[in-house]
């Protein structure tokens, strides 16, 4: 079991909901990212999605895209991100970490090499938004072999039959995209979302279901936690980092934000 699976197994036993955060690696630079991850870990976040920047994302909203662009400008590479995770693990950072990013940088690194390097560095899995199940076989086999989770997404447009296949092939958890379109818009927890997530949870059981896209405030977190096993906050955290970049209190602000989200779960 990797850290993701261990976490969810324990959370299920304790009937706890999980807080999952997204952070753009290298925004504003990798050193800051390292400090933020340590703070996020201390502040009670359960799983971290660490964004690997790509020059031409088609699935990101404007906030994350802009942060990716700056991360690349600051010289961030996949190699550097893997090294960072390795360093953090040596400093006893225990939060489960998924690398989240477009397929091309992973493919270019070499999927085989990536899987072994990820394990060595202490990465627990991958989430690749532009890699649907149809294209995933090779990477899936490598991840499985290495004990890494490969998390797939279910979209609002995904029909039930397809949901089933995605849930069967997803490992660690399955990610429900709450909105069509790209990240950064606000979520509304209505009957339709409730029903779709409920359906996916029945289909995926016992695999946990996380809901993401448009979750920005503790109130959103509280509402989504009613219907899902995990709640993902992305753009809102990236915006906070943007707002306080360069400030001495950046780390502290991030810590406060994470704790405010976490307390909305209980």
């Amino acid at each position: 079991m990797n850290r993701i699976e261990k976490h969810f197994a324990q959370a299920a036993e304790e009937k706890r909901k999980s807080l999952i955060l997204f952070l753009s690696a290298g925004f504003p630079d990798l050193e800051t990212t390292g400090r933020l991850i340590e703070e996020i870990d201390r502040s009670g976040c359960d799983v971290l999605e660490l964004g690997v920047p790509f020059s031409d994302p088609i699935a990101d909203g404007p906030t994350i895209q802009a942060s990716s662009f700056e991360a690349l400008k600051s010289g961030t590479t996949l190699v550097g991100i893997l090294d960072l995770v390795e360093t953090l693990r040596s400093r006893d950072v225990r939060i489960p970490i998924l690398l989240f990013g477009a397929f091309n940088p992973f493919l270019h690194y070499g999927l085989d090499r990536l899987a072994s390097r990820a394990v060595e560095a202490g990465v627990d899995g991958f989430l690749v938004p532009d890699l649907p199940i149809e294209e995933a076989e090779e990477f899936e086999a490598l991840c499985r072999g290495a004990g890494l989770s490969l998390v797939f997404l279910v979209a609002p447009t995904t029909p039930p039959e397809r949901m089933k296949e995605i849930a069967q092939r997803s490992t660690g958890f399955v990610y429900f995209v709450s909105l069509k379109g790209v990240t950064g818009v606000e979520i509304a927890v209505g009957p339709e979302l409730r029903e779709r997530v409920g359906l996916l949870r029945r289909i995926a059981d016992p695999l946990p279901v996380a809901v993401g896209f448009g979750i920005q405030t503790p109130e959103h977190v509280r509402a989504v936690a009613q219907i899902a096993d995990g709640v993902v906050v992305g753009s809102a955290l990236v915006r906070l980092v943007d707002k306080h970049r360069g400030d001495a209190e950046l780390t502290q602000r991030v810590g406060e934000f994470v704790r405010s989200l976490k307390s909305a779960l209980s």
Binding site: D56, L78, P132
Partner: protein, 411 residues
């Protein structure tokens, strides 16, 4: 004189080739690397398209549009003076005159096809990405004709360079959205168009402008553009009583070249040459020769050759011709290159400019800078061919749009 040829815009299939496979693969290339939200949309689009492709009513409507509206069939013109000027008339060069299509380039073949498809799919809105503005204008044109709402995404940098085409699109009723991310050019406009489609796939069809993007686009655009090759076949049979020996066309994403090549795939004696943009020279690194110099990657939804860094980030392409200035390449071209069914070479900005002047002076035709790359490559191809060979070159567009650039460099 040529015998009359009938209009045939019917999307044509190539039974012996059987490409792509059911997963949208051309060998190792192609596929569907898109967010899950789009998967369902693409699967549905593929299903619907395959049904309409074989639907006699759809084909009849499209043929009518291509004939009465776009001006097809376009002539196949024996360029006698050009033939004489290149390798002393070693080969007989024909020009497939796509520059005479409505809107001035082959792009309209695709936008009418996809526009009509959008209509049948019940989607009231179409979107498009555009670099130089040619595909944007062709989409805005089809949208006006077919009464579809039209939004075009265009990089800020391109908007600045192609003011006149921006005005044309707006005149035709389209809304042009400036894209300020990344390099503010075609690739960024394409990213933005995908994002818009993700959010509005219910009421919107995305008219991709070339044989790129996720399956079924490379297949669909090929089918719509294959009218070029289908007509060429008929016309050359009528004029020469035999098939051509060599086909030459420029390759950016690669839609005019695929359109010319596809109906000849199963003719082993027909050689094919795709001409990429070498920009300031391959050795300078400032070029758009993706197939010649790129590495396998995943870009804009497909596995293909891509210009990229050691870290797998996409690199900007460079060419004097905005239509060839793209760091990706159509997956079917990648397959044709890897399987050596087609040959790929390149021409520099300078060579394209010289070729433009040559065609102007010998035939009284101002070619688009894109097409001029194909003309330039004749200097490399023709000296190698057997004497008396028949060469067909796709003159994909006219050069009116390039007059400012031409004046700057040739004036």
């Amino acid at each position: 004189m040529s015998a009359p040829v009938s209009t045939s815009g019917s999307p044509t299939r190539f039974p012996a080739s059987q490409r792509p496979d059911p997963r949208g693969r051309f060998g190792q290339f192609g596929g569907r690397y898109v967010p899950e939200t789009l998967m369902t949309v693409l699967l549905e689009l593929e299903k619907q398209y395959l049904a309409y492709r074989d639907d006699p009513d759809f084909r009849r409507d499209l043929d009518a549009l291509l004939g009465d509206y776009a001006g097809r069939p376009t002539p196949l013109f024996h360029a006698a003076r050009l033939s004489e000027a290149i390798a002393a008339g070693r080969a007989k060069i024909y020009l497939k005159r796509e520059d005479l299509c409505h809107t001035g380039a082959h792009k309209i073949n695709n936008t009418l096809g996809q526009g009509l498809l959008a209509k049948h799919l019940g989607k009231p809105r179409v979107i498009a990405e555009t670099g130089a503005g040619q595909h944007g204008v062709a989409t805005a044109t089809a949208a006006a004709l077919l009464d579809l709402e039209c939004d075009v995404f265009m990089g800020e940098e391109d908007i600045r360079r192609q003011e006149l085409n921006v005005f044309r699109m707006r005149l035709l009723g389209a809304e042009v959205h400036p894209v300020s991310s990344g390099s503010r050019t075609l690739k960024d406009a394409t990213n933005e168009a995908f994002r818009d489609w993700l959010a509005r796939c219910d009421d919107t069809h995305y008219i991709i402008g070339s044989v790129v993007g996720p399956h079924p686009f490379p297949m669909m655009v090929r089918d719509f553009q294959s009218v070029i090759g289908v007509e060429t076949r008929r016309q050359i049979m009528a004029k020469e009583g035999r098939l051509p020996d060599h086909l030459v066309a420029c390759v950016g994403g690669g839609s005019n070249s695929i359109g010319l090549f596809a109906p000849f795939y199963d003719e082993p004696n027909v050689q094919m040459y795709g001409v990429e943009a070498a920009g300031e020279g391959i050795e300078t690194g400032r070029h758009a020769a993706t197939i010649s110099m790129g590495q396998v990657g995943v870009f804009h939804g497909a596995r293909e050759y891509v210009l990229q860094t050691d870290d797998g980030q996409i690199v900007e392409a460079h060419s004097i011709s905005a239509g060839l200035d793209y760091p990706g390449s159509g997956p079917e071209h990648c397959f044709l290159a890897e399987s050596k069914r087609a040959h790929y070479l390149s021409a520099t900005d300078r060579e394209a400019l010289d070729a433009t002047r040559l065609l102007c002076r010998t035939e009284g035709i101002i070619p688009a800078l894109e097409s001029a790359h194909a003309i330039a490559a004749l200097h490399k191809i023709v000296p190698q061919v057997e004497k008396g060979a028949i060469v067909v070159l796709c003159l994909s567009g006219r050069g009116d749009k390039d007059v400012y650039t031409l004046r700057k460099h040739l004036g």
